[in-house]
């Protein structure tokens, strides 16, 4: 099994920490953490992640701009973006795809099944 590289963009340090623990220690993936979208974009270029997890409820200035940049990257390199949101269930899968997201991670999430959920969403074999 190839170890997947996951980029996590999360401004909340605690959640970042928990996500990292979940995906690395339980999922066995390689995790790259970013505390802002801007930082995430830079890491994409460097690390070439297999998937990007992003919490968009960021207070970051020009967040929208960066998200668009990230989407552009996602399209260009076929790297799926998963949304971390507490309002995820407001949106249908179809709508999410239109918005450029491959799926969603609901807050609060189940840490034990999170990696499994991501694999399923992205069609990765376990």
């Amino acid at each position: 099994m190839v170890a997947r590289l996951v980029l996590v963009i999360e401004h909340e340090a605690c959640i970042r920490e928990v996500l990292e623990a979940c995906l690395r220690d339980l999922g066995g993936w390689i995790i790259v953490l970013a505390s802002s979208i801007k930082e995430g974009i830079n890491l994409c270029e460097q690390q070439r992640p297999d998937v990007i997890l992003i919490d968009t409820s960021t207070p970051e200035i020009d967040a929208l701009l960066f998200i668009e940049e990230l989407k552009f990257y996602s399209t260009k390199y076929f790297v799926p973006i998963l949304l971390i949101s507490s309002r995820a269930n407001w949106l249908s899968a179809e709508r999410l795809r239109q918005m450029g997201f491959a799926g969603v991670i609901n807050k609060p999430f189940n840490p034990l099944t999170l990696s499994q959920h991501i694999s399923q969403t992205l069609g990765w074999s376990a």
């Binding site: 401004h11 909340e12 605690c14 959640i15 920490e17 928990v18 996500l19 623990a21 979940c22 220690d25 339980l26 409820s57 960021t58 207070p59 507490s86 309002r87 807050k107 609060p108 999430f109 189940n110 840490p111 034990l112």
Partner: protein, 834 residues
């Protein structure tokens, strides 16, 4: 045989014995006939007398005839002796025959020739010089029927020599008919052979006509008596029998007249038992002439009770002894019924008059000599004014004086006017009753002028005091409701079933920006947002039909200025008694504020749920990972996870505290417990609370302490300071400085009271000028995204404001974008307290 009547008469005379006595009966006969003629020519009332005279005349004529017969025979004997006397007699006879209208004749059976006296020719309407007629000619002058009877009598006389007497008619040549009484007798010759008939013919036309007239009169009387509804009766007082009772008896009583003839006492049996005594008594009075009329009831044959009035007269003989009762009885049932009805009606009227609730009826009279007075007042007047009807009738001024003066003047004018023009008297007046309480009365009276020049008003007076009171109450209530309508702090409109504004209040006008006049020319459809019109109409039919009593919708009205104003409409329809919708009442509530608050609430919930989820996610995540056991062999990792959980649970507690304290402060549920506290202590405690946060961001907290004692709730003041400090930390950049100061100052220019002024100054990004006021409102933040990054709830400054205001102080902010903000708040020292 003589060829002239005179000759024939002479020859008759020759055979008659003639005596001087013949003249004796002739004179009275002539007088009687003369009198009769006169009577018949005069009034018909003397018919009876005429008949009497006629009777006498006939009787006399008969006697005369007999005497003449006798005397003629005698004359014949003495004819030879006294030629002069004969001639004299002849003349007398002629005259007598003329006067008596009596003709004589002789029929020679052998020659069949007839010899008539001169008078007989006159009776037959022929000239006396007319030649003698044959038997057949004579018989031809007699009409059918009469002729046969006469012929039979003549034949009989010829056959057995018996005399006859036949009444028959003759037809005169001029066409008139006369009645004759013909007598005849046969005369035998010496050998006892019947050779001649002789006799007389008396013109009885006048008598006959009188008889016929009498008969006719009798018939008329009978007819009248039969036809009359009145029962006429004649009762013999001597025998008690009915001499006459008219047929009307059968119609009225239902019993036959015959029954009464048979049993005269039966009339008493028909009297209604209750009236029997009265009738018997009155009947005795009738005999003494005291009473003529009796009214009583009878029981008819078919059991009906009818009223009868009888009027009787006593007929007395010349000695004054009562002979008969003559009278008329009439059916007066109808009259009695009418009378009873009238009595009943009068009683009814009186009862109505006396029992008129809150009123009375009266009759006011004005006569030229007496002026105004009352002829009748019903009992109700006492209930209203306390005056009795009798007292007012006796002294009209009693009522007059109870009138309020100005009403008296007005009333006087109206009465004079009504008197002059016979116009309806209609007015409202006020009187003071005997208890000095004012009463409102209304009156209507109709005048009519009497023949004697007086004027009579029939009127009714009704107490309308309670009505007037109700009117006033209604007016007051109407004013109340009008003001409730006009001054309501909510829009109210009355709207017709097709949507026109019928009435609008000021609030609605202000809300929609239209004047009342403008709005009343519009329909609600005109100013309803097109997008809401369908929804508005949907419930309309149901509420119009009364299926729904109330309709509540939210919609938008478009103001005159074109702004959409969200409103909550409450509509209910007012229907008349038949259920026809009259108009609807619409309550229009401006819900802009409400919507804003709702919107804020939604936002609050959204923010709070988001803010809560973040720590919960961390706590949940770290605990689940710990629980999974993956860190069992890596204690430092496990510890790390635990710290994540602890940090976030702290944050969660803080958040929940904030929300709760805001809610409690806002709802006024918590009164802050005030006490004397040192300002410096409060400042230090606040610094201590925020220090860790500041350290995290490398921010320096600078403090200028103040020694002063404050009457305040320490926890409250510390919370305000902490909130302001942590805000300042959140918005300060790394390594910045936050200054906190406290100083005493006058509460205001006029007052000597002192306040403590606290300031918290940062050098953050600052607040835009338009937000300086609103940031103290709940959920107001400079930037919605702030809450995410700074962990704020949007409640912090609201809480501060609430606490400061509860201390009687105020809070504000000064700021310069990009340079920083300074928050100020004052708290009165409150040294005078406790």
């Amino acid at each position: 045989m003589a060829s002239s009547p005179l000759g024939s008469f002479r020859s008759t005379l020759v055979n008659l014995p003639l005596g001087g006595v013949v003249l004796l009966p002739v004179v009275p006969l002539a007088l009687g006939v003369l009198a009769l003629t006169q009577h018949l020519g005069s009034s018909p009332g003397s018919l009876a007398t005429g008949v009497l005279l006629l009777g006498s005349a006939i009787a006399l004529a008969r006697v005369a005839t007999a005497l003449i017969d006798q005397r003629f025979a005698h004359l014949k004997q003495i004819h030879q002796q006294t030629e002069d006397a004969l001639r004299q007699s002849e003349a007398n006879l002629l005259q007598t025959q003329q006067i008596a209208q009596l003709g004589s004749w002789e029929l020679d059976l052998v020659t069949q020739s007839i010899t008539w006296s001169e008078e007989l020719f006159r009776i037959f309407g022929l000239n006396s010089a007319h030649p003698q007629l044959s038997f057949d000619q004579v018989m031809a002058a007699i009409p059918d029927g009469d002729r046969e009877r006469l012929a039979v009598a003549i034949d009989q006389a010829i056959a057995d020599g018996s005399p006859y007497e036949v009444e028959h008619r003759i037809c005169r040549p001029d066409g008139t008919t006369r009645y004759l009484l013909s007598r005849g007798q046969a005369k035998a010759n010496d050998s006892q052979q019947i050779v001649k008939l002789f006799g007389t013919a008396l013109d009885i036309s006048d008598r006959k006509q009188a008889e016929l007239a009498l008969q006719e009169s009798e018939t008329r009387f009978q007819e009248m008596a039969q036809t009359l509804n009145q029962v006429s009766y004649v009762v013999s007082l001597r025998s008690g029998e009915y001499l006459y009772i008219s047929l009307a008896y059968e119609r009225l009583w239902g019993y036959s007249c015959e029954s009464l003839y048979q049993d005269p006492k039966s009339w008493l049996k028909r009297i209604y038992p209750d009236d029997l005594d009265y009738v018997s008594e009155t009947f005795n009075q009738l005999l003494t002439g005291q009473q003529k009329r009796i009214e009583y009831r009878i029981l008819t044959a078919n059991g009906d009770v009818r009223w009868v009035e009888s009027e009787s007269l006593i007929v007395k003989d010349e000695n004054g002894n009562p002979l008969r009762v003559v009278g008329l009885a009439d059916d007066i049932t109808h009259r009695k019924q009418v009378e009873a009805t009238l009595r009943d009606q009068e009683a009814k009227l009186r009862a109505i008059g006396d029992n008129l609730p809150r009123g009375f009826i009266y009759q006011l009279v004005h006569s030229p000599d007496r002026g105004f007075y009352y002829s009748y007042i019903s009992a109700g007047i006492e209930r209203i004014t306390g005056l009795t009807p009798e007292a007012v009738i006796q002294n009209p001024s009693l009522l007059w004086d109870s009138l309020i003066e100005e009403d008296r003047l007005m009333c006087d004018q109206l009465m004079q006017q009504s008197l002059k023009a016979l116009s309806l008297l209609e007015t409202q007046i006020r009187v003071r009753n005997v208890a000095e309480k004012m009463q409102w009365l209304t009156t209507v009276a109709v005048p009519r002028r009497m023949e004697d020049g007086s004027t009579v008003w029939d009127g009714v007076m009704v107490d309308i005091t309670s009505l007037k009171q109700a009117e006033t109450a209604l007016r007051n209530s109407e004013e109340l409701f009008r003001s409730a309508f006009d001054d309501a702090p909510i829009g109210i409109a009355l709207i017709s079933p097709i949507g026109e504004f019928l009435k609008v209040n000021q609030y609605l006008c202000n809300l929609l920006g239209y004047s009342q006049k403008e709005l009343l020319e519009l329909c609600f459809q005109d100013i309803t947002h097109p997008g809401d019109l369908n929804q508005n109409w949907q419930g309309w039919p149901q509420i119009l039909e009364g299926e729904l009593s109330n309709l509540e919708i939210k919609k938008r009205y478009i103001s005159k200025q074109g702004a959409a104003i969200p409103v909550l409409i409450n509509t209910s329809f007012v229907h008349d008694i038949d259920g026809t919708p009259l108009y609807c009442i619409e309550h229009v509530q401006d819900i802009r504020e409400q919507l804003k608050v709702e919107c804020m609430k939604d936002e609050f919930v959204s923010i709070v749920s988001h803010e809560l989820r973040t720590p919960i996610t961390s706590i949940n995540g770290s605990l689940v990972l710990l629980d999974s056991g993956i860190y069992d062999a890596r204690p430092e990792k496990a510890r790390n996870m635990l710290q994540v959980a602890i940090r976030n649970s702290d944050r969660l507690v803080r958040l929940v505290d904030n929300i709760l304290s805001f809610e409690r402060l806002e709802s006024g549920k918590v009164q802050l417990e005030k006490e004397h506290c040192q300002v410096a202590t409060l400042l230090y405690q606040a610094i201590d609370a925020v220090q860790p946060l500041a350290d995290q961001s490398g921010i320096t907290l600078a403090l200028t302490p103040l020694t002063a004692t404050l009457w305040a709730a320490p926890d409250g003041i510390i919370q305000v300071l902490t909130n302001l400090l942590s805000n300042a930390v959140k918005f300060s950049s790394q390594g910045g400085t936050i200054c906190m100061n406290a100083s005493t100052e006058r509460s205001n220019a006029e007052s000597s009271d002192l306040s403590v002024l606290f300031t918290v100054q940062d050098h953050g990004r600052g607040i835009p000028a338009d937000k300086l006021e609103t940031i103290f409102e709940q959920f107001q933040q400079v930037d919605a995204s702030d809450s995410r990054r700074r962990g704020g709830t949007g409640l912090g400054l609201s809480i501060c404001k609430n606490i400061v205001e509860q201390h009687g102080g105020s809070i504000w902010v000064e700021s310069c974008l990009g340079q920083g903000s300074t928050f100020f708040f004052t708290v009165p020292l409150g040294c005078n307290e406790r």
